[in-house]
């Protein structure tokens, strides 16, 4: 763990300390002794460089010390998705360094701004951490390798073409002479290449594709990994916040007298829609003080709304709303009336909260000419710019120290908590750590939008669908995120997985109606697809049932000619024991989707008790991300995505009453725990091709449909709205 010690020594000279790291002795972990870790790279508990430079840099990405220890900078977020391991693996495919001597740290967003975006984009969203980095980091690694080779060739006065690099050593092939990277780095840093070397094509990969343990795991089993909430800045005070219970409402006023003379209170900070209390000593003190205040709010007309009303309005909008057409093929209006049999169904999905385990928080130290921020963010560059604006500084004056993110799922790139922390720091003139309570985190999420989706299908005499019309009413994430819809008005998130559905049905129309309430919405793991795949894969099952066909075989027919889809569908069916008999009360369901360029098919096996309790026993997933960098983390992502989607399917809903989100903590916003977790088997089957797929999101969309279809198989009851716990299934099995 040389890397950790180096980083901590550097940090200890600085004024901003994470004191617990040293107090805990967390750096002492001896991962090298574990066999699996012998060949592993490492990362420090607080993996950012305050100076954002090293004396032994080859370039902004790579530093090589004389002792051959190698620093690789990682430019995106680590929120559990494993990209902090996988992206440097791609760089090292080209660099050819000895991975066991590699340590990884975060690239600095500040340096990225100052040095002409040398790190490119810094976001981790849309399952793009790997595919969005691949060409860039391969090029960075290849350039560094060629410069190391050029430095060796110069030293030996031989043509560079006679030299090769491997395992942190350059070898002159004819003579067998060798030089270590550590001996060459200083010269290599001075070399400019005439042209950029070609990067490897996938058939040339030797390191990409190997299962490698994650660099952050050892730090996450001894408490030393630093999340944003763990920041400890000298002189820091703690802040708790209450935001208007009705999202979008405003603060009218607050009587501060209950806190007059209370010990340790540093300030009461009023914002447009929130009140915060800052206190010395502990977050608890701030939280308890805040609880003594009773702010008055102007909640507006939204204060009279509730979920039942929203549902009525969304259902009405299926006919009355202004629909934008996303896909129109054949002639649905002609084909539907002529069908031998028609089917119609409406599917409903509720608002959902992201609820990462680490609630929203940010620590800021605001000086007249410099702002330091400690936060776990999915987009350090974008949040740096938002913070600069809030602080009235230039982005170059903002130093965002990205921390390990305690769960993101799309929530942690809005910067709302950062902007609040800056407002509090401005008011109290001290470094501030702001933490949202779990209740604030749930109720003031930017939610997964609710949606109501109607399907109409016409079946021919052979039972096969020849026409379908799909219309969805949903809140708009792109509009919430400040993006514009295209001129045709189609919300590309609302129609995700609907307009692009792969089924060969001659007459297909997909439309959307954008409809929002006062609840803010945002990106939530597999945006759009996470609700739409439940709906469309359930409706395909309805077509199968109505025509007396096996749901798997119907899908096979509708996917005829699409070899990649069939491959994952067949794999899931085969490994998931599709068609094998099950006892009464049990059933299997199947679902498939394309998301972020990857394919995922899942077979779920459920038991429904006579009391109507649903237990998901087993899930088999087949996953084609086109290319795989680290099969270990890819499998972990599918496993986790299935649990994430299963929580939503079984329990997930945010109700609204009097304009207020009802569910607030884990007693009412229920989560899948070990007792409900199915056995999961993941089969990774990359098919190659031009584009790389994502891994973080595609595992989430299919599970709700697979489980609902399994419940139908077990009970004959069709689930057309989520969550499943709201359906009475007693006596149906």
């Amino acid at each position: 763990m040389d890397g950790s010690q180096t980083a901590s020594t550097t940090l200890n000279r600085r004024k901003f300390l994470f004191t617990a790291a040293t107090a805990a002795g967390g750096f002492a972990i001896g991962i090298g002794a574990l066999p699996r870790w012998a060949e592993a790279a490492t990362v420090a508990a607080q993996p950012w460089d305050e100076n954002a430079s090293s004396p032994h840099e080859i370039d902004a990405w790579i530093a090589i010390d004389p002792d051959d220890s190698i620093l690789i900078r990682y430019q995106r977020a680590e929120m559990g998705q494993g990209s902090m391991t996988a992206v440097p693996m791609m760089l090292n495919e080209e660099l050819q360094a000895d991975w066991s001597h590699v340590r990884i740290e975060y690239a600095s967003a500040n340096r990225n701004i100052r040095e002409n975006k040398v790190y490119g984009d810094m976001f981790s969203n849309g399952s793009r951490s790997i595919k969005g980095s691949q060409k860039l980091v391969q090029q960075v690694g290849a350039s560094a390798r060629e410069r190391l080779i050029a430095a060796a060739a110069q030293r030996w006065s031989v043509p560079a073409g006679e030299c090769a690099a491997a395992n942190s050593v350059v070898t002159h092939k004819p003579s067998g002479r060798t030089l270590r990277y550590g001996e060459l780095a200083a010269d290599a840093a001075k070399i400019k290449l005439d042209k950029e070397p070609a990067i490897k094509t996938p058939d040339q990969f030797t390191f990409i594709g190997k299962p490698m343990p994650r660099v952050d795991v050892p730090l996450k089993v001894d408490g030393s990994a630093k999340f944003g909430i763990d920041a400890q800045v000298p002189g820091m005070v703690f802040a708790a916040i209450i935001q208007c219970p009705v999202p979008g409402g405003k603060l009218k006023g607050v009587d501060e007298s209950p806190l007059s003379g209370a010990p340790g209170i540093v300030g009461v900070v009023k914002m447009a829609d929130a009140v915060a209390v800052a206190a010395t000593g502990s977050f608890w003190r701030a939280q308890q003080a805040l609880a003594k205040l009773h702010p008055e709010w102007d909640v507006g007309p939204a204060g009279n709304t509730d979920t039942a009303q929203f549902l009525r309005e969304y259902r009405a909008a299926l006919d009355e709303g202004k629909a934008a057409t996303a896909r129109n093929q054949g002639n649905v209006d002609q084909a539907l009336p002529g069908a031998a049999k028609t089917l119609e169904a409406v599917y409903e999905t509720p608002y959902l909260s992201h609820s990462p385990m680490e609630p929203m928080n940010a620590t800021v130290d605001l000086k007249p000419d410099r702002l330091d921020i400690w936060v776990g963010t999915q987009d350090a560059l974008d949040e740096t710019e938002k913070a600069a604006k809030a602080a009235g500084l230039e982005p170059e004056q903002v130093y965002l120290h990205n921390c390990f993110v305690g769960g993101g799922f799309g929530r942690r790139d809005a910067a709302d908590e950062v902007v609040q922390a800056i407002a509090i720091a401005k008011a109290v003139q001290k470094p501030v750590k702001l933490i949202w309570t779990r209740e604030e985190d749930t109720r003031h999420d930017k939610f997964r939008p609710m949606a109501v989706t109607r399907f109409k299908a016409g079946l021919g005499a052979d039972g096969m669908p020849n026409a379908w019309s799909i219309r969805t009413v949903a809140g708009s994430v792109p509009l919430a995120a400040g993006l514009r819809l295209p001129p045709n008005g189609v919300d590309f998130v609302a129609i995700a997985a609907l307009a692009s559905n792969p089924y060969n049905i001659a007459n297909t129309r997909v439309e959307c109606v954008v409809k929002d309430t006062h609840l803010p919405v945002w990106w939530w793991r597999a945006p759009g697809a996470n609700q739409n795949v439940f709906a469309i894969e359930s409706f395909i099952d309805e077509i199968a049932a109505a025509s007396g066909q096996d749901p798997y075989q119907l899908r096979r027919k509708l996917l005829a000619g699409k070899a990649d889809y069939l491959k994952v569908l067949d794999a899931a069916a085969e490994r998931g024991d599709w068609g094998k008999p099950l006892p009464k009360g049990r059933g299997r369901g199947i679902a498939i989707c394309e998301d972020t360029g990857s394919l995922c098919a899942q077979v779920a096996e459920v038991t429904v008790s006579t009391k109507g309790e649903v237990k998901v026993d087993r899930v088999t997933a087949a996953f084609d991300p086109r290319y795989v960098v680290n099969p270990l983390t890819a499998a972990e992502q599918i496993e986790g995505a299935i649990i994430f989607g299963l929580t939503a399917a079984l329990y997930g809903k945010i109700d609204v009453k009097n304009g207020v989100p009802v569910q607030a903590n884990f007693d009412t916003y229920r989560m899948v725990r070990l007792a409900q977790a199915p056995k999961i088997d993941v089969h990774i089957m990359p098919s190659g091709g031009k584009e790389w797929g994502g891994a973080g999101e595609p595992g989430t969309p299919p599970i709700a449909g697979a489980v609902a279809n399994a419940i139908f198989a077990a009970t004959g009851k069709r689930i057309r709205s989520l969550p499943i716990m709201d359906h009475d299934l007693s006596g149906s099995a």
Binding site: F283, W284, P356, M357
Partner: protein
Amino acid sequence: MVTITVNGTQHQLDLEPDTPLLWALRDVVGLTGTKYGCGIAQCGACTVHINGEAMRSCSVPIALLDGATITTIEGLSPGGRHPVQEAWIAEDVPQCGYCQSGQIMATVAFLKDHPNPTDADIDSNITNICRCGTYERLRRAIHRAAELMKA
């Protein structure tokens, strides 16, 4: 003033007596491996050992702890080498990692009472929430830890 011993070191806490142990550990003692997740003993991210028993520290006021001995994730073993930690590494359990201190502390206490745990034992005793959904590997790691502890 409340005196507690945390990972072998005595600390005097000059805090409101209703302050939960969680915030005393994080904000005063300076040990941040113990996490805040819910504040109502639902999620288990704050699990520590109080006099040898696994407890959710967000819901234990320090007033009840004068003279108590506390073990946090940082003090579980020298160098982070407890068999449960080794099993966690071997199974590559953590994703975001935020809940894992609590999962590990809960498992260490659980295995003392259940040296040969069945899946049913695990399900009914390890109730901590993992939002990343690491349960498949977590379950394997608990079984592996049980084996390691026998060795």
